[in-house]
């Protein structure tokens, strides 16, 4: 065996072993900080949200967006979502990805809202009360002549009417235990403007109920006992929720209004199914292809089969180590690239067959086959790379992770396939060329009979 081939063989075995280890042996994964495959939202479950900010009123749009991202990051942290993605897109858009989150509706309400807590009053002609049904939902009540409608509590500052919301809280809310009721309360302080508004409102609503809402959800509706200006408490929450609300409020307020313009929610159970079946599909596909190669191309086919197995291990290891976020489309891209990996081998084997027909020895046919097939392999894979590049660009500018995932896995798959065809298949073929099997030409010629072309070879 030539020295070059020995070195190549060694290199291939090392790469293959490393790939297998990276895939199966935990300590290696741990030391590289890559223990698991990274899964996209459609496999893991979670929410993909795109918001558009209304920057028309903002003095400094850049700062405003930074503020928005900052607050949203902290609000999401209060949820304990692992590996959230918060990304600015363009001038006024925000991408938020929350993997594995279960309470999507609640999260949405809190992430997108400028103010978390709204204060509302009853607009009515007579006396009445906020009525909540057994689920804690507010119901409209018709009582006597008037219908009670809930409106935001407003007051005037400098002649301008403003709604009372938590945006006027100082960022120092605390959870305290009320000595008398033994219930937790969220204690807050008003800033200057808030104090002005609250004074007016408590004055107007003296002895009437004031509704406190988290987004659209009512938390409580205490009756105003006195005119208050500087501080207040929110009751009606258990200890955990109180702490959680406090940390949300202290995270700050979003400076500009946000509108939800795109959303995709996937439940985790669906994702787990996809993974299972994706695996089955991959194994079945790979097995069928290897079987076909072996039957049709005989000995070279067996070599291609081994090369394909090494190829699969290397590609999966690459996905794990880079890491590539796997989506369903990404898995499809990988499985598609298996088919294309075969292509390089087929090109080489077809050339070899022709060379053998013109009377060359097996060893010479192997070399000639490679040299003649390489330009075709290179040229035809470049077009796939171009398509992948464009797809990746389209996917990232339109914030569509599946498209990006597909482009990336296809690209990596095809690139590594070029490598395995060039190095692995060639080395194995060369080695087989110097064994006794090389004497038996029939092992190297495909099974089916071919019509020979006239007028040229």
């Amino acid at each position: 065996m030539r020295r070059r081939d020995k070195l190549m063989l060694l290199g291939i075995l090392i790469l293959a072993a490393f790939s297998l280890l990276a895939l199966t042996w935990h300590p290696l994964g741990k030391s590289l900080d890559r223990e698991e495959f990274r899964l996209g939202l459609d496999l893991r479950g979670g929410a993909h949200l795109v918001y558009e900010a209304d920057l028309s009123q903002a003095d400094n749009p850049g700062e405003a967006m930074k503020g928005v991202i900052n607050v949203i990051e902290r609000r999401i942290n209060a949820y304990g979502v692992s590996e959230p993605i918060i990304q600015k897109m363009g001038e006024d858009r925000l991408l938020v990805q929350l993997p594995g989150i279960k309470e999507i509706e609640e999260a949405k309400k809190l992430i997108g809202r400028t103010a978390l807590i709204n204060f509302k009053e009853l607009k009515s002609d007579g006396n009445g009360d906020f009525n909540f049904d057994e689920n804690g939902r507010l119901i409209r009540v018709k009582k006597g002549e008037g219908e009670y409608i809930v409106i935001p509590a407003t007051a005037k500052i400098n002649g301008e009417e403003k709604e009372l919301t938590s945006k006027y809280f100082k960022g120092n809310t605390v959870v305290v235990l009320n000595q008398m009721t033994n219930q937790p309360e969220v204690a807050f302080e008003w800033n200057e403007e808030g104090a002005k508004l609250f004074t007016q409102i408590t004055e107007r609503l003296l002895h009437k109920p004031l509704g406190i809402f988290l987004g659209d959800e009512p938390i409580s509706a205490p009756t105003v006992q006195a005119i208050i200006s500087e501080r207040g408490v929110i009751t009606g929450l258990d200890l955990n929720r109180a702490h959680w609300l406090s940390s949300l409020l202290n995270a700050g307020r979003i400076p500009v209004p946000l509108r939800n313009i795109e959303e995709h929610d996937v439940s985790p159970t669906l994702g787990a199914d996809f993974i299972k079946w994706g695996l089955v599909a991959g194994i079945v596909g790979l097995s069928l292809v290897i079987l076909f190669m072996m039957l049709y191309y005989r000995l070279p086919g067996v070599i291609a089969g081994c090369a394909l197995l090494i190829y699969t291990a290397m590609v999966l290891a690459a996905f794990k180590l880079i890491p590539v976020t796997l989506t369903l489309a990404g898995i499809a891209g990988f499985i598609l690239s298996i088919g294309m990996a075969v292509d390089a081998n087929v090109l080489i084997f077809e050339r070899m067959k022709e060379e053998v027909r013109t009377g060359r020895t097996v060893r010479a046919a192997i070399e000639a086959g490679f040299n003649r097939a390489w330009p075709a392999i290179r040229d035809s894979n470049v077009s796939t790379f171009i398509a992948c590049g464009i797809l990746y660009w389209m996917g990232s500018s339109l914030a569509t992770p599946p498209v990006m995932g597909f482009a990336l896995t296809l690209f990596i798959g095809v690139a590594i396939s070029m490598f395995t065809a060039l190095v692995v298949t060639r080395t194995f073929l060369r080695i087989s060329g110097i064994t006794g099997a090389a004497k038996k030409l029939a092992l190297f010629i495909p099974a089916a009979p071919e019509a020979s072309p006239k007028g040229g070879s």
Binding site: N260, M293, E350, G456
Partner: protein
Amino acid sequence: MIDFVTRRRRYFLGSALFIICGLIFLAVLGPPLGIDFTGGVVMGLEFNQPITQDMLEVKLSELGHSGAIIQSTGKNSFLVRTGELEEGEKAQITKSFKDLGLASEPSFDYVSDPIAKEKARGAAIAVAIASIGILLYISWAFRKLPNPFRYGTCAVIALVHDVLIVTAFFAIFGRYLNLEINLMFITGILAVIGYSINNTIVVFDRVRENLSKGMRLSFEAVVNNSLVETLGRSLNTSLTTLVVLLAIFFFVGVAIRSFILVLLIGIIAGTYSSLFIASQILVAWEKGELVRLFRRSS
């Protein structure tokens, strides 16, 4: 030996018929567009007890969405498609479905109108750039031959042919098979474009090689020989890729079936166009038949 070239008019006719059929369906029924391009909401529902489509229609009408489109995707699972929902409507609708017995939280996809327009534009741009990029690349790769632009153009014609065949299929069978044209469809189209060019290049590469051998043969004969010589490779590669795709198609669920179908049909169309369309147009061009076609009709 097989003759690929002489009966080329038949192949052109066959493709043209299917494509025209598809275009008629497109014009009459409109393309089956997904919310990626139209905007709106799609909710995926799994029920843990027997539910019929009518029951869902009733519930939706009650909530003011009688125009909602409902699709059955399996036993007691459905896709419901509506326009944009107001704040709070989603919770309302989810609750009324929960009353019917939902097995888990519904999946929810929402694309607002402006985003849908952007996606449509982005997709169109991507396909245009891909085609132009490939035209330029092939013309460059075949620069040493006479008329290199012809090779590039024929490759692009084959590519457009493949895209039209897939689109025609979706236009004709889309509503019956619950297929839709969305961003994943476009992704599939771009993948098919990349793949189709592979095939075409291999054939043209052989044509280039045979031409440079300088044998005294007509262009038609050279092209035919090239096709026959590369037949083994073309068929094998397509076959293996199709096998792999069929495996995915049968084992993975509804979610990407549309996408895999694009790839399946696209690769079949791509193989067909590499063998029966691209090179044949090259020959027809060389023989001046295309010019005659235009002259006759003018």
